[in-house]
């Protein structure tokens, strides 16, 4: 996709469809969708500074009991996880996207990309499907 906000909704829905087919419940599907939206918006606003013609690659797959969504950009390479946390103030909603990622995803990691590969950042987000945990009805083996 391009770093164009007009493309966010379609990508979000595609990931939500994947999450649904993975067996996540309605609330978890919505959480994954919102996190993809927020992560893409952060890339567009911060990593690419509002440019709408830069590349973003989004991929999603299932790994063990988790849905994994990755977002690769070739932006400024700033790692949001290293930014100093600021006290949350509801009347200054900046940073809400990162809060959503931390609260709603099972695991979030930012992997800076090597300069010889164009730099930028790889965001890896995982959402565990509790129904597929070992010992659950879905995951247990006889």
């Amino acid at each position: 996709m391009n770093s164009d906000p007009a493309e966010i909704a379609d990508v979000r829905r595609a990931v939500e469809n994947l999450a649904q087919s993975f067996g996540l419940d309605e609330k978890a599907v919505a959480e994954v969708g919102l996190c993809v939206n927020e992560a893409l918006a952060n890339v567009m606003r911060h990593a690419y500074g509002g440019a709408t013609d830069r590349p973003i690659v989004v991929s999603g797959y299932c790994q063990d009991a988790s849905l994994v969504v990755t977002i690769r950009d070739w932006g400024n390479g700033v790692n949001p996880a290293t930014l100093p946390p600021k006290p949350f103030n509801p009347l200054e909603p900046g940073g809400l996207g990162l809060i959503c990622l931390r609260r709603m995803m099972s695991q979030v990691s930012y992997v800076p990309q090597p300069q010889d590969g164009g730099g930028g950042m790889l965001l890896v987000m995982k959402k565990e499907n509790p129904k597929l945990r070992r010992g659950s009805d879905f995951g247990a083996r006889p």
Partner: protein
């Protein structure tokens, strides 16, 4: 291709309730970084034009919004507060309600069941 400007369609059914010094409007559609600037422009224009004491936003047709929409609502809230006004959000759908709770805004905006409830509140 449609000739309809999406920004004209995002906020609709606007009416003024003079006895309550209120403006009531319905918002329609999913709101994200793409169209939240349109919402911002429309809301700020409504506030500047009518200077209401209460802005009632019916969100029954908003199944989804993201943090950029939240930022717009907060900006509108800060604007209306300067003149002693309040924003009432009605008919919240589950995803929108959930995001407001995460943003801890459910106690800063006045959340009402519906438009009548919002207009009846003190």
């Amino acid at each position: 291709m449609s000739d309809v400007n999406p920004s004209l369609d995002l906020v609709h059914g606007t009416r003024v309730e003079p006895s309550k010094k209120a403006v009531v409007a319905s918002v329609r559609g999913e709101i994200d970084l793409h169209n939240s600037p349109d919402l911002r422009g429309t809301l700020l224009e409504l506030l500047a034009k009518h200077e209401p004491k209460r802005l009632v936003l019916n969100l029954s047709q908003v199944p989804y919004m993201d943090s950029s929409a939240i930022a717009v609502l907060v900006e509108a809230l800060q604007k209306i507060r300067k003149t002693g006004g309040r924003i009432f959000l009605t008919d919240l759908q589950p995803r929108v309600k959930g995001l407001l709770e995460i943003a801890r805004l459910d106690s800063i905006f006045v959340v009402a069941k519906d438009e009548a409830d919002a207009l009846a509140k003190q």
